[in-house]
């Protein structure tokens, strides 16, 4: 069945405005060690319940399975716990993250044009009665180091999410790396 879309499909509809909104986005034009979203509470807490970051990234290491990215909340470098479930193409593994100063997930180190992808969900990002909880779905396809991973992490703090910092654990993000921050409302 061929479904031509054109500008709008005959059955297409515009999502309710303001329910899932692109808040900020950055595409690197050069090498950069970290990328941050800041002042989130003052900018978004009044209107949004949850946050999502969609990340298309590559770092500048040679292809290496141990290359990783990390996430820090509010500049805090303690109180993190995370678990990982992953598939490497022949083995499924799971583990408890040993680092407590950040949440670690997989990074992509592919050749030119080969970027990995991650979706990071932070539910109830601004509520003061809950610890911050993250869900990360990530994948990279690099010869010899193909990975798909699910990470669940938390920072044991009830402080409102005010900043998110993403970094490459062993190198720097390269040009073309994109991080987009979205807000999701509790009601339309």
């Amino acid at each position: 069945m061929l479904i031509p879309i054109g500008i709008f499909a005959s059955s297409g509809a515009i999502a309710a405005p303001g329910s899932f909104d692109l808040l900020e986005s950055t595409v690197l034009t050069g090498t950069q060690a970290t990328v941050s979203f800041t002042n989130l509470t003052s900018k978004y807490a009044a209107n949004y319940q949850h946050l999502q970051v969609r990340l298309v990234a590559k770092d500048n290491r040679s292809p290496d399975a141990s290359s990783r990215m990390y996430l820090r909340l509010n500049g805090v470098s303690s109180g993190y716990r995370w678990h990982e479930l992953g598939g490497e193409g022949s083995v499924v593994y799971s583990g408890v993250g040993s680092a407590t100063d950040r949440i670690i997930f997989q990074a992509n180190t592919g050749n030119s044009g080969n970027f990995g992808a991650s979706v990071i969900d932070l539910l109830d990002a601004f509520e003061a009665n809950k610890n911050r909880t993250f869900r990360i779905f990530s994948g990279q396809l690099v010869s010899g180091f193909n990975l798909v991973t699910l990470v669940s992490g938390s920072n044991f703090s009830t402080s409102s999410t005010d900043s998110l910092l993403f970094g490459s654990d062993f190198g720097s993000f390269v040009a073309g790396t994109r991080l987009s921050l979205y807000g999701i409302k509790a009601t339309a």
């Binding site: 069945m1 515009i14 970027f115 992808a117 779905f137 396809l141 798909v148 073309g176």
Partner: protein, 159 residues
Amino acid sequence: MSYIALATTTLTSPDAEIVFSNIPTSVNGVALRDLVLVADFTTATSSTSYIFFNGNDANVTSVRMGGTGSGSGYSDTYTKIFISAGNQTTGQFATAQVFDFTATDKHKTALTRNGNAGTLTQASAGRWASTSAINVLHIKNESNTAFGTGSTFSLYGVA
């Protein structure tokens, strides 16, 4: 307005291939970055379903992991971007996210989740090693078995 429904179809008769064509790069001035496919479908026989782009199913690498409810799970690699596995005759649900689909300086990476409550749950990552912008998305399965009447496929664009 950042998560936009582009098109949806529910089959009124079996069909072996679903094609979303002329995928826009923007809607009402809003540039789209990612595509999200949501599918709920059956097939007449068990066969792995997959997606590919612009009529070209070559140059694809994917890795998946899954669990069937027994044992320690499985992982393997493949040359197609999965959206299903196992028994599809009783119904599969699947989501596939395709990132930076309009970029002409990046390969196209996808993350997929799928499952069948009676069989398995699975996650995969796939890459089409092409810097071509995606304007057509295809859905097929390996044995060319038709998707069943009532199967629904919906495509969204994410700004």
